[in-house]
Amino acid sequence: MKKWWYLLAAFICWVVAGFSIFDFLPAQNSIAARPYQEISRIISTAPNITEILFAVGLEEKITGVTSDSTYPASAAEKQNIGNFWQPDIEAIIAAKPNLVVTLGFPLYPQQQNLADRLRRFGYNSLTVFNTEKVSDLFDAIEKIGIATQRQGQANALAADIKQKLDRIGFLVAEKEKVRVLYVVQRNPLRVAGRDTFINEMIELAGGENAIGATIQKYPPISSEQLIACNTDVIIEPTMGQENAELLEQSGLQYWSRFKNIPAVKNKRIYVVADDAISQLGPRLPEGVETITRCLKPELFENQQ
């Protein structure tokens, strides 16, 4: 029996020692934490954050970006800190950043996890894009502007995006809304639901999401639901390195099964290879325009 008491006593000593050696809350006073200094070494952990940083004129202050930051092209010259799905914390620390911009909870748990860890070591991290809404883009631009003391450029960028969106809005105003289905994946069939920024882009482009309200953001749907949607247009984005032509080819056979859907009947299935659509970033107006070209090609005929 005695040995059990020894064990208990040893354990209590261990815990007490822990309390006295380390403070109850994790230490925050790391040498890397120096607030109120000029932000000169920025790390971006997502492609759309990189785009915003470039767009507000911080190019020379960006130290590292994720490997999937492909726009603008000069982003590729920056140091690689892993991909957006798995940022490499060692590479980030080695780059000696004084601002790390990450995506927010709950969409990107691994990014949140990274931000928490960096904060624990005393690094300055900024979380943007907490939701997936167009308004969140403007939030993110504003936050980045404040954090990097570039409010002027940030406001100009936001105003520019709004102006371009308004121009498209003016173009499609008073026109009939086109029903469109944004197909994320074919097997199983998965589409963008109402509670996504894709849905907002469709509406800005003068369309209407053919799918109604769903529980999930990108709901998987059955063939029956697909037919019931009765959509006029189908848009399929390419994912990553997928080849647009191949997707179009295989689509001919796939969609021929649903001959009675207006989109298939009228051959209005568009494969778009444009990361301005799949990423919510400063190129939002370009993405919206691409969608508008699919929905209402007649609006653009006279321009070319």
Binding site: K3, W4, L7, A10, F11, W14, V15, G18, I21, F22, D23, F24, L25, P26, A27, S30, I31, A32, S67, N80, I81, G82, N83, W85, Q86, D88, I89, E90, A91, I93, A94, A95, K96, F105, P106, L107, Y108, P109, Q110, N113, D116, R117, R120, F121, E132, I215, Q216, K217, Y218
Partner: protein
């Protein structure tokens, strides 16, 4: 394996194993995506206002991560030993009685209810996972008891059924949850070793070491239990007390491991078997050596996981299975001719 196990021999074997562990820890702490050397780490120590990324990486990223891998590896290996002994089942691993699905259920409840306030600097997901794991194992124990005292089959069946039932609930919840909430759960469940705050590590290390020592105390009784509860009772052992202690402690250290790092498979299954094949089935030796081997194995596996596809990372469970499986088969073929499972 007729040699007697003396205290002296055991002491030296454990010391030797600890030395190997130290060497592995040192080597692994110097391997990573960023090349660092011990010299550069401490080159500018003591100068407060300079940034030394090597020091930051070494002290804040690698060491905590390696210590966590040690704690989790030791905990899983030990509780694997114990579950294999008290259930008298070579397929038993730390998750066999439903800890995994209990923890998963706790996680998904935390995620769906939208809790994101950290508790003690830790995410609520970990706390909920811990509660889920402990609650489930208590439930299984309770049901097993209803099925009959020291009825191992009843316990095992209760564990399997509760596991299946909770898995079904998890699947139900994931299918009605909003998709972005599921990412957090899946990310967590995949098993993920990353740095923890030093205080959490310290507390977890204390609990795990205390648990392993407690299991070591009852290792003679565990030896007897391997012959079956009736035989053990005839040897004058209080079987239900031993089972209760073993069960509670193993569940506790497994839950700690799960709440720190998610579900990491395979360690709790192959490390005990590997050690048993090489060193024999005596629990007085099996328990401490399994703990140390588990720590070594998971540290090495995690180092591979974070470097092999750098700058990306593999889930550590992938490495434990791919590297551990063939090695275990090798041990199985090499040593089973010498001793049968549990000396039967």
């Amino acid at each position: 394996m007729a040699q007697l196990l003396t205290k002296r021999k055991l002491f030296w074997q454990i010391t030797l194993a600890l030395v190997v562990l130290m060497v592995v820890v040192l080597c692994c702490s110097l391997i990573g995506t960023k090349q660092i050397s011990l010299k550069s780490v401490f080159a500018r120590a003591g100068q407060p206002n300079t940034i030394n990324p090597d020091y930051e990486i070494f002290m804040h990223v690698r060491l905590p991560r390696i210590f966590l891998a040690c704690i989790v590896g030791a905990a899983l290996a030990c509780s694997g030993v114990v579950f294999q002994a008290i259930l008298r089942n070579p397929l038993a691993d730390p998750y066999i009685l439903g800890i995994s699905s209990g923890a998963g259920l706790g996680t998904i409840i935390a995620v769906i209810s939208g809790l994101s306030l950290p508790i003690l600097g830790n995410s609520p997901i970990a706390i909920f996972a811990f509660i889920g794991a402990i609650g489930t194992i208590w439930l299984v124990w309770f049901i097993g008891r209803l099925a009959g005292k020291s009825n191992v089959t009843g316990l095992l069946l209760a564990g399997v059924v509760v596991n299946a039932f909770f898995s079904a609930i998890i699947m139900f919840l994931t299918s009605i949850a909003k998709s972005q909430q599921i990412y957090a759960t899946i990310f967590w469940l995949m098993g993920n070793i990353s740095e923890e705050s030093i205080f959490v590590l310290w507390l977890a290390a204390g609990l795990t070491i205390a648990g392993i020592v407690a299991l070591f105390y009852i290792s003679p009784q565990l030896n007897a239990l391997c012959f079956g509860a009736d035989e053990a009772r005839s040897m004058g052992i209080d079987t239900s007390r031993t089972q209760l202690i073993a069960f509670a402690v193993a569940a506790l250290i497994t839950s700690i491991a799960v709440c720190l790092s998610g579900l990491i498979g395979f360690v709790g299954l192959i490390v005990p078997h590997g050690v048993r094949l090489v060193f024999g089935p005596d629990h007085r030796r099996l328990l401490p050596l399994s703990a140390i081997t588990g720590a070594i194995f998971l540290t090495a596996a995690d180092t591979l996981a974070r470097t092999i596809v750098a700058p990306a990372q593999l889930p550590v469970g992938v490495v434990t299975a791919i590297a551990g499986g063939p090695f275990f088969l090798f041990l199985l073929i090499r040593y089973t001719r010498k001793i049968g499972w549990l000396n039967k």
